[in-house]
Symmetry: C3
Subunit: 422 residues, 3 copies
């Protein structure tokens, strides 16, 4: 690693952290006003509590290479520290990986909005690192079995997004729908603050460029060529997806529903993430368009089966992540400069089924892992502290109950009297 690489990696990390602001604003804008502060605090808790455990053991399970390391898990580098000579490399790697890890673990928070007890959520934030760090090692650690099989997930379609989407799915099922969510049908509820949701989307959009390009993890030695490619594929995917989102929502009901357009853009971004350094610009528009359409098409189905995901995290991250991994197995060409794909190609480029198979295996392994650990964690936490707010708390809203914040537009005294009478 050179000073140039350090500049690239550190700068990327700093910008990737701004995606927390993006997720926070998007989720906070999408839920009802009485929970808008609480959901942002959950994003803060993800950084604080998830960050501490990532430093304690997450990084070690992901990248450790001490004796005991095996294809399933790394060992070593716990409570990360370094000597003066190596600190540049070690700490820059850590801060970059931490910015990734906090992004991954925050995805589920949106799906759990408006009904999760904050105490229980804090415990979830602490242990959620485990769900992320182990498959991240499979994909990106020297020891990882998926890496050694040749799986390609350049910036995390499966390791970050599919993982987060599966966790979100389990969490919504365990939590059950919000009170009275489906009393008036399954149409999405209005957003509490659409402007904040849009500002959050914009913040994620530009942050994603850095997330994908920064995943070259360096700029020297031809890596910058891949960074340039990742930039154009990422933006093109979002353009294709955004276009489809606009057309889809318009032809559905002659309105431009911003929820669909937002989730389409994000779905396109998730889709391109696995192969952003390899796709061609034109293909990227197509991959993004398919991803965006797929995401907003499957989303209403979750509501139909009463899986209540207030922000659409399951469809965006789970659906988009799955398609992103498949797209790698279909579209990529071998890369002669860095040889990251080891000469393998996608099905449509004459590479046969091997790569596609490995990509699907990655999705399966990571999906099963995420579903299982998230389920066990939530059920485990539930023993000590009920993860679901009480109905009274839910009616009054988490902002008031957990943070003592009264919104002008609610009459808390009336609401409490009302609740007492019932």
């Amino acid at each position: 690693m050179t000073p140039d690489d350090a500049t690239w990696i550190l700068t990327a990390s700093f910008v990737i952290f701004t995606m927390q602001t993006g997720f926070g604003l998007l989720e906070s804008g999408a839920v009802t006003k009485k929970n808008e502060v609480n959901i942002m605090m959950k994003n803060a808790a993800d950084v604080i509590l998830g960050g501490i455990t990532y430093w304690m053991f997450g990084y070690g399970f992901q990248y450790g290479s001490s004796p005991g390391t095996n294809p399933f898990i790394g060992v070593g580098s716990f409570f990360l520290d370094s000597n003066q000579d190596e600190m540049g490399i070690v700490f820059a790697t850590f801060i970059f990986q931490l910015s990734f890890a906090t992004t991954a673990t925050t995805i589920a928070s949106g799906a759990m909005a408006e009904r999760t007890d904050f105490n229980a959520y804090c415990i979830f934030s602490l242990v959620n690192t485990l769900t992320y760090c182990i498959p991240a090692g499979w994909l990106w650690g020297g020891h990882g079995f998926l890496k050694n099989l040749g799986a390609i997930d350049f910036a995390g379609s499966s390791g970050v997004h599919l993982l987060g989407g599966c966790a979100a799915f389990v969490a919504t099922v365990v939590l059950k729908p919000r009170l009275r969510r489906y009393d008036n049908g399954t149409a999405p509820l209005p957003m509490g603050n659409p402007i904040n949701a849009l500002v959050g989307t914009f913040t994620l959009w530009w942050g994603w460029l850095v997330f994908n390009c920064g995943s070259t993890f360096g700029i020297t030695n031809d890596k910058w060529h891949y960074a340039g490619r990742a930039a154009i594929t990422t933006i093109n995917a979002s353009l294709g997806a955004g276009l489809c989102g606009i057309l889809f929502t318009y032809f559905k009901n002659r309105k431009f529903e911003i929820g669909d357009i937002i989730n389409s853009i994000l779905g396109g971004l998730v889709s391109i993430t696995a192969g952003c350094a390899f796709f061609r610009p034109g293909e990227s528009i197509f991959i993004g368009a398919v991803g965006g359409l797929f995401v907003i098409s499957i989303q209403p189905m979750f509501d139909k089966i009463k899986v209540d995901d207030p922000v659409g995290a399951i469809a965006v991250h789970g659906g988009g992540g799955l398609w992103g991994m498949v797209a790698v197995g279909l579209f990529i060409e071998s890369d002669p400069l860095l040889y990251l794909s080891r000469g393998r190609k996608g099905l449509f480029k004459g590479g046969g089924l091997y790569l596609l198979g490995v990509q699907l295996l990655s999705c399966l392994s990571i999906g099963v892992w995420s579903v299982t650990t998230t389920f066990l964690m939530l059920k485990g936490i539930n023993i000590f502290r009920c993860i679901r707010m009480s109905p009274v708390e839910e009616v009054l809203g988490a902002d008031y109950i957990e943070h003592n914040i009264r919104h002008d537009c609610f009459h808390y005294e009336d609401m409490m009297e009302d609740l007492e009478r019932k």
Copy 2:
């Protein structure tokens, strides 16, 4: 291009995209609440639809160098792609130029606020790329006649801002004023969300530093000296302009009107953009101050002639851009390191009238081009789809009509009853 240059160019591009968030928040905060979401969606459409056409033909018309290229237009590089060896340079250049292009095309959206049909606007976004990319080629493409005459527009006072300001002017004239806009005089209407307008301004302010400094398009080979100079001149211009804005609004009516202060800062930033790599720090304060004052002085005149520009885009970008180009012709010295000004100097530095003449010619060419193409585009679109919302739609607001968003502070049922009765 070296890895160091790639870091500079890509990082700059990522930050320049945040200016979309800035424009979105500023415009959304400046209009009435019933249109705040719609105007942000227009910014999103500019990126999505304008981005796709920029990739398809915009970049090619601007920078293409295939046979057929002539001083007026580039040919080639359509549907941009690249081979592995050149992709670093080609794609980094594209992403940087795209971040510029989307900034340019979004300027008009503010002036069109509160009365433009969203369908029609989407078509406008698609074709608007044409207005930008061709004069950008004149100024910055190897083939461009203005470049070869020696015109200097380092970061786009004319190519981005004057162009956008002229488009904004034509659009407001074609669209006509908002309903009842001038019933109670020509004073500016109150902002719907002044905090968002200020946050947007701040975002643009810091983004502008990157926009101007990043326009060195590289950091090695003495380019970093110019980047340093662009940083101090850009910030100094905003300081001079901000000071004048504060004094102007105070002496006008003993209040500190934030609309004037915002537009003064932005006007100063526009003014410095053409020559930011060449001016001296002290001159920059002066140039910014003149630009800021000029902008906020001419703005009320547009209202007097009933040119209804809700955010002041014509004055800020058109007025500031014109003065910025003139300032280059007056103030710059020759630059011995990169020889970008080809040894020419401004009038006040003993360089005679040639440079000033070329600068004015650039303004004239770009102004005429922008006015003409924008007029033809809007009139053309109007044939297929009325670009102006119906009066009923306008009263109810685009957020409700186009996006199905109801704001708490409006009583849509009452408003509709009211309208029916009339």
Copy 3:
């Protein structure tokens, strides 16, 4: 300085400016709605007016090295300019220092919220540069007596934060509490817009990473190792502090008060700032935790003695800054790469009391300087223009009085009638 260093320094400067957006949103969200615009305008004034004086004389007093320079003050480089050969270094240094200076001078604005006359504040912004630039020279200028004694303040725990906290203390005392602030006890008042306060906190959080890492002031020659270390220590301190904040507020009253959590995170960040390039990651969690706890523990005491600081700036920046300087004297080891600590170590690492003594001397010198100059400035300004708003103005709020902005939630006509009757 190389092009690589320029990239690092300039990019860092651009991100540090975003901390103005962060401070603006945090302060604006923390105060009552009727002053939310005014407090953001004060942040803008700090950049505009403080920036101009920093260019005129601030930079010169801090870094000047012309004849007349002595251990107390630099002389030279006034109205900063440069020739073509040196402009890269000189201007990059200026823009970086300016981003620091504007951050320092804006700290007091929060403490002065809701009762300071805007005219008077503008004069304060102009002269406040003096308070900052002279001790900055003591710490970081070649001439500075604290630097030459061996004081270590890597990124400004004393030079930026303690200084700002002391200024905030004096300003609150001189201004006296807001009208009726303590009529119903000393508990903190509800925030006007908690979401904006949180978004501001997030913006500061990520900006702080750049602020601390960028303080290597370059990336080549082993500096990047220190940048990596500063990244992990800064984030770890915020994690430790955030954890303590969450636990503290929960055990205090079974609620998660966001004011406490925000100030705890910020307190941790302030605490790590002085020694961020030297601490170990585990120590950083501890130092941040102590800093966060210290800050939110002392904050209620200020309210008890009726020092009315609406945003907690005194505790966060003053308290955190003091502890940060002490922590350097306790914890740091010598750094063999760049030898910034000159072989000295903290008390707990066997370095004896010398370093701790110098750190305390720095705090004392800077504290006394800040208190004295701020007091004299405010009293001086008060002669020409009353720094306190009139009671009528304060009741109506600065947004209406100074900026002619009416918030929907206030009935200004009723308020005015009410006031007239009294």
